[in-house]
């Protein structure tokens, strides 16, 4: 019994709308039972197309999609038993909340009493008991969102797809709903495939995240891996804040390599994704891992920089520096007791650990 734990599988799936451009290129992805998997990527990266293929609204041009081990390419969407939450909720405007929720149950020919009971239970789950008689237009955005969620879950699907479900909500409501969705997911144990372009949403909710770009999964891993150990420049750039330094690999020594900057300085970095000596590379460095004016010799890498701009953020100060050939080198200086006070135009040293500076594939910017 090893296969059953795989709930959804994409095998060599390709998709083209016009026969000229592949919007999904050779996708292979397994989603485990009970998992919360997020497809994250910029718009046009192919993530929504993948979701639509899984739901059955778009046919795959090539390859096969499996649901519980069964190929479903020829199965119409109504036979797949997948719950779905749409970007704008798609609540039926001519029906009351109760009728909306009863719809999937009536389709299944459920008895009236059972329908009523289940609808009430689902409404209770999203804390909307007593709203059943209203029309969707009489609800606030957040309430509509909950109804959409309840409707997708009311018929007990094992798999729920969510297509940017929180996109239309304001920031505070969004964060609250993230928390609630996460809770419901955990208590029901359903598998969720979630599509978003919001990286913080992906990071807070998911078990695993598939980062899409250009029709290809760039990296599939847990949120912390994704942030701390990006496998390529795109992921490093897309997830969180990132400093980029361009250079040429001069030497590779096992896990680390030496890189010569365009301005002549030499840095030692973790060799994650380098082609070899003599090849260009882009170094990725998180702003919070950079130290201002470190003690001499305390850190293996130290470069000279000049403060260009200072932005006050309350708990920290963002310093923008000219370092090597980039003028947008960001450092987060924590606003704690005795922190280093910088001023514009000041020359300072910046330093960091070898493992915090990841040498990745070269990226032209």
């Amino acid at each position: 019994m090893e296969a059953p734990s795989i709930h959804v599988a994409f095998q060599n799936v390709q998709k083209s709308y016009d026969g000229e451009i592949l919007v999904v290129k050779d996708l292979n992805l397994d989603v485990e039972k009970g998992e919360f998997l997020t497809m994250l990527g910029p718009s046009g990266s192919g993530k929504t197309t993948c979701l639509m293929m899984l739901a059955g609204f778009e046919p795959a041009t090539h390859g096969e999609i499996f649901l519980n081990g069964q190929p479903i390419n020829n199965q119409p969407p109504n036979k797949r038993g997948i719950g779905m939450v749409f970007q704008n909720y798609a609540l039926f405007p001519h029906m009351s909340v109760n009728e909306n929720l009863a719809f999937p149950l009536q389709v299944r020919g459920m008895k009236r009493e059972e329908v009523t009971e289940r609808v009430d239970r689902a409404l209770g789950m999203v804390e909307l008991g007593g709203f059943g008689g209203r029309r969707p237009a009489q609800l606030s955005g957040g309430q509509q969102q909950r109804v959409a969620l309840a409707r997708a879950l009311v018929f007990d699907p094992q798999l729920v797809l969510m297509d940017e479900p929180l996109g239309a909500l304001d920031k505070q409501l969004r964060e609250q709903m993230q928390y609630e969705i996460k809770n419901i997911h955990e208590s029901l144990g359903v598998t969720v495939v979630y599509v978003t372009h919001d990286q913080s949403e992906a990071l807070t909710m998911s078990n695993r995240i598939a980062v899409f770009n250009d029709g290809v999964i760039q990296q599939l891993s847990s949120p912390d891996d994704l942030y701390e150990r990006p496998q390529n420049s795109f992921v490093a750039q897309f997830i969180g804040e990132n400093n980029k330094l361009s250079g040429m690999v001069t030497e590779v020594n096992g896990d680390s390599c030496t890189v010569k900057m365009g301005t002549g300085e030499v840095i030692t970095a973790a060799a994650i994704n380098v082609a070899g000596a003599g090849q260009p590379t882009t170094l990725s460095l998180r702003p919070e891992r950079v130290e201002i004016a470190p003690d001499e010799g305390a850190l293996p890498n130290a470069l000279q920089g000049q403060v260009k701009d200072l932005i006050y953020h309350g708990d920290h100060i963002r310093a923008v520096l000219q370092v090597a050939d980039t003028s947008e080198f960001v450092v987060k200086v924590p606003n704690n007791v005795g922190h280093k006070v910088l001023s514009k135009g000041e020359n300072v040293t910046v330093g960091w650990q070898i493992e915090d500076c990841r040498a990745l594939d070269h990226m032209d910017v």
Binding site: G56, P77, N78, R80, Q87, N88, A90, P93, H94, F103
Partner: protein
């Protein structure tokens, strides 16, 4: 929203709110917005005047004309007064005859529009066909009657004057207000003893045509709906560039003159026309049994469906365009088949468009007259053709007005019915 209502109610009504200078807030508000409201009113004034002059007054005049016909009082006022007192039994008295003869002789010399003997003759002729010449002929001769007895003298001119029915009609025709035209419009008339009876079967035309108009309009509306729904759906789902192109094709009939379109249908549908030629060349029918597709009811239906189709497509399209595909997808994802999802989810949401389209097409159809006049032939005549005929050729404006008023009432009743069934605020015309 309920929240807003709650806040406005939380302010006690009796506590008069005042601005900081002590003037009541409402007065202040009215003052500040007065200029804007005045400007808005002035901007709409041309339209209001235009509608009044070009629509409200003429419709009002038409309604009045359908029951107000003062021709008798205009032509022979003294006689009108005198015969009004007559009890309607036998023939009127000698005095009435005297007044009539003298009034008619005087009226004969009048050449003012609307006050001539011809006008009275026309009015009487509506109720007793053939009596126009009785009155015009007699009017030429009554001048010669100088001495009593007037009754005998008039009977000598034409013995039809001895018919009491003529005098009953004259009595009725010389009152200012009459129901005669509404009766005529409903295929009814006054008989020789002033009872309301059905018209002779050979002359019953308005009610059968009215019923046929309603039935044909319903059929045309239904055909328009059946044809327009899929087209509107296709238009609403296609990418914008393609749908714009197709929309031009839909609107093309709007940009061609009605007559040109109708003539095109004649060329297309006549027995020696394109369609029949195609049928013959495909050997679907023999050259001898070409199908009569025009100058009959079929022709009226085909041409009117074509002409009215855009009025169905546009409201449907405008409603369907606002229905995102995610509704159908949501229904499918919840387990509904394509058909079930269509019936339960998509179709109900297009109801406002259907309501607007059917109402529009139906009302336009019952008022149509150019197309049926050109391609209707024998049995394709509609009620509007009869109205147009009374306005344009027989000049019985009052009867035309009565028919028009009946049509107006039917349309208003439909509107009311729609309001009850669908709700007028749910209509969406585009």
């Amino acid at each position: 929203m309920s929240d807003a209502a709650a806040t406005s109610q939380s302010t006690p009504r009796d506590a008069l709110l005042v601005a900081s200078d002590g003037v009541p807030l409402k007065v202040k508000l009215a003052k500040t917005t007065a200029a804007a409201r005045r400007r808005a009113f002035l901007l709409t004034l041309p339209l209001v005047l235009f509608v009044l002059i070009s629509f409200v007054f003429p419709i009002g005049e038409m309604l009045v004309r359908s029951f107000h016909n003062p021709v008798g009082g205009n032509v022979v006022p003294a006689f009108a007064e005198s015969i009004a007192k007559w009890d309607g039994k036998g023939l009127p008295s000698e005095e009435v005859f005297e007044v009539f003869v003298k009034d008619l002789a005087r009226a004969r010399k009048v050449r003012d529009v609307g006050k001539t003997v011809g006008n009275l003759a026309t009015r009487v002729n509506y109720e007793i066909p053939g009596s126009r010449s009785l009155i015009t002929k007699s009017a030429r001769k009554v001048g010669k009657i100088k001495n009593p007895p007037y009754k005998d003298a008039l009977l000598a001119i034409d013995k039809r004057w001895s018919n009491p029915h003529v005098w009953l009609v004259l009595q009725r025709a010389t009152t200012d207000y009459t129901l005669s035209f509404y009766l005529a419009a409903l295929d009814r008339r006054y008989d020789k003893t002033n009872n309301i009876v059905q018209a002779d079967e050979l002359y019953r035309i308005y009610i059968p045509i009215l019923l046929k108009t309603l039935w044909l309009s319903a059929l045309i509306t239904f055909l328009c709906f059946m044809l327009a729904y899929p087209v509107a759906y296709l238009l609403s789902t296609l990418p914008l560039r393609t749908s714009n192109l197709l929309m031009i094709l839909v609107l093309l009939p709007f940009w061609t003159s009605l007559l040109v379109r109708t003539t095109a249908w004649i060329a297309m549908l006549q027995t020696q026309g394109v369609l029949n030629d195609v049928f013959v060349s495909l050997r679907l029918i023999g050259n001898e049994d070409r199908i009569q597709l025009i100058y009959n009811q079929t022709g009226t239906i085909i041409a009117m469906v074509h002409i009215l189709l855009p009025f169905m497509i546009l409201p449907l399209y405008s409603v369907m365009k606002t229905i995102p595909p995610s509704y159908m997808r949501a229904a499918r994802s919840m387990g509904a088949s394509q058909t079930y999802a269509f019936i339960r989810i998509y179709f109900p949401q297009t109801l406002p468009g259907i309501a607007a389209g059917t109402l529009l097409v139906f009302i336009l159809a019952i008022g149509y007259y150019i197309t049926p006049a050109l391609v209707g032939g024998n049995d394709g005549l509609l009620i509007s053709n009869l109205i147009a005929d009374h306005i344009k050729s027989t000049l019985n404006w009052s009867l035309g007005a009565a028919l028009g008023s009946i049509l107006l009432v039917i349309v208003l009743m439909l509107y009311w019915l729609y309001n009850r069934l669908v709700g007028i605020d749910n209509l969406k015309f585009g």
